[in-house]
């Protein structure tokens, strides 16, 4: 049975109002924490370190009021992609990756296919990393409104304005992009329903014919692009009509303030991330 309700599956980028610790932290703190954790995750490839990182990410989830079930449901749309990636890594990455502290052992070899303990580790660690990153990005966007996020990015980029980096404009681009995701998802849903109402067999099972599938995409993409361009044009007009000129000399209604909680959170995560990075080669397995 086809289901046209996409927003049920898109959990990243959806702000959920609340009053938990994660909601109250300054957006700059949350972005810093996210960056530090992402660094730690990308440089750690051992089983133990990734289990620790996953537990820490789970702890973050507990500190927010977001339900774990909701965040995990965000895996669903990406599941096919993850499985394909895992199979490719398992079969073809045997020679490319040698884990720390252990010698490479061949588990299975047949023609091009070469499975080693290294490729098994790569698959498992990649899946763990995916979960960790999903938790982090979901948490950041679920507990922070887009305007908070934009202010945070703008503030963090402001030191670079001396070398000509347009911080305000960049943060505006990010805000608009994020804001348009749910709008376009909703629009796509309406277009899919309209096309299905006049005979398009969207979501119909069976024949996997490339040409037919491509035509199905045209039926959706053309109206969606027209709509997106029209919305962009409307937005430009609306901004022009209000004499929008960018960030220079602009003041804000709500100013960001770092509190003791923010400094505490950043310090704890900084120590943790430095530890994980410094000891990344010394985990026993």
């Amino acid at each position: 049975m086809e289901d046209f309700e996409f927003l049920r599956n898109i959990t990243i980028g959806q702000y959920l109002p609340g009053n938990s610790l994660a909601h109250r932290l300054d957006p700059r703190t949350k972005i810093t924490v996210m960056l530090l954790m992402t660094l730690a995750i990308t440089f750690n490839i051992s089983y133990l370190s990734n289990i620790i990182l996953l537990l820490v990410c789970l702890l973050f989830v507990l500190l927010s009021s977001i339900s774990l079930k909701y965040i995990l449901s965000g895996v669903k749309p990406a599941l096919g992609f993850i499985i394909v990636l895992a199979i490719l890594q398992l079969l073809f990455y045997g020679d490319a990756f040698v884990p720390y502290n252990t010698a490479s052992r061949t588990i299975f070899r047949w023609g091009w296919i070469h499975i080693t303990n290294g490729s098994v580790q790569l698959v498992i660690v990649s899946s763990l990393r995916f979960l960790e990153l999903l938790f982090l990005t979901s948490l950041l966007t679920n507990t922070t409104t887009t305007s908070e996020l934009a202010h945070g990015i703008e503030d963090m980029l402001s030191p670079f304005s001396k070398i000509g980096l347009p911080g305000h404009e960049l943060s505006l681009v990010v805000t608009i992009a994020l804001r348009f995701v749910p709008i376009l998802a909703e629009q796509l849903e309406i277009i899919m329903k309209a096309q299905a109402s006049r005979g398009a067999d969207l979501g119909a099972k069976g024949k996997l014919q490339l040409i037919q599938t491509t035509r199905q995409v045209v039926v959706l993409v053309v109206p969606l692009f027209i709509d997106a361009l029209r919305r962009a044009e409307d937005l430009i007009l609306a901004m022009e009509a209000r004499c929008y000129v960018g960030g220079r000399g602009r003041t804000r209604l709500s100013r960001l303030h770092l509190t003791g909680k923010d400094y505490g959170a950043m310090a704890v995560v900084l120590v943790f991330a430095v530890f994980m990075l410094a000891y990344r080669a010394r985990f026993p397995f």
């Binding site: 049920r8 329903k193 005979g199 398009a200 045209v218 109206p223 027209i226």
Partner: protein, 289 residues
Amino acid sequence: MNNREPIIQVNDLHHTYLRETPLEVTALRGVNMEIHAGEAVGIIGRTGAGKSTVVQHFNGLIRPRQPGRVIVYGHDMSDPNVDVRAIRQKVGLVFQYPEQQLFERLVGDDIAFGPRKLGLPFEEIRERVREAMEMVGLGFEEFKDRFTFSLSGGEMRKAAIAGVLALRPQVLILDESTSGVDPRGRKDLLSRIDYLHRHHGLTVIFVSPNMEDMAGLVERIYVMDGGRTVMSGSTREIFSQPEKLAEYGLGVPQVTEVMHELKARGEEVDTTVLTVAEAEEEIWKILNS
């Protein structure tokens, strides 16, 4: 009203959007409706009353969940094996701003999308496109080779409706499909749909916030509020209860309101009039007496 089996039957329908997420919204909390072949039925209610959600159940865009039941042409829509494409061919649904669904370069090709999907022979497709275009008032020879996106807003709207009519549906659902069109274009469109209803036996389900349009087109009305059907009856019955409608944030056609006002001032008039012509007759009656 006839006593035959209804073609669409809705029993105790409930629906929740974004179910099982923190953002879930309950749209329907118990809807009951029956639609018979050849009727013109209106659904009114303020924004968020659940009108669009209900009609999307009629062609299987949303499937009913327990305990709700939707039976369309004898098929229980909760059955995952129902051939929804066959149902959608019989029950055509036109959305608000249907011109957003256009995608082909030429008008004729766009209208032919549905019939082509049915795998019909070329001549048959051409015939259906011609018929559908004439129905909405777009000349076949004049418009079939025009660029879709060079049409005016009203013409695009007509082309989009023709795209649904080309499937030769037995039921046509218009979900606020006339909003945003200029008054003359809207009147033209409505009179064409009225013609299809009267002369081709098309069953029409009309969702509109405009009470005047409603009064001119439909025979029967369902009033929805807070996801429930709260009133139902003939158009005259419904519009003769302005106080009750006001409770649900709804009004009556302006001419009907005038008649209620006259009656309140002690004039002996019929308050069930729905159109300007009927009102004129009533007012002449008072003036002549």
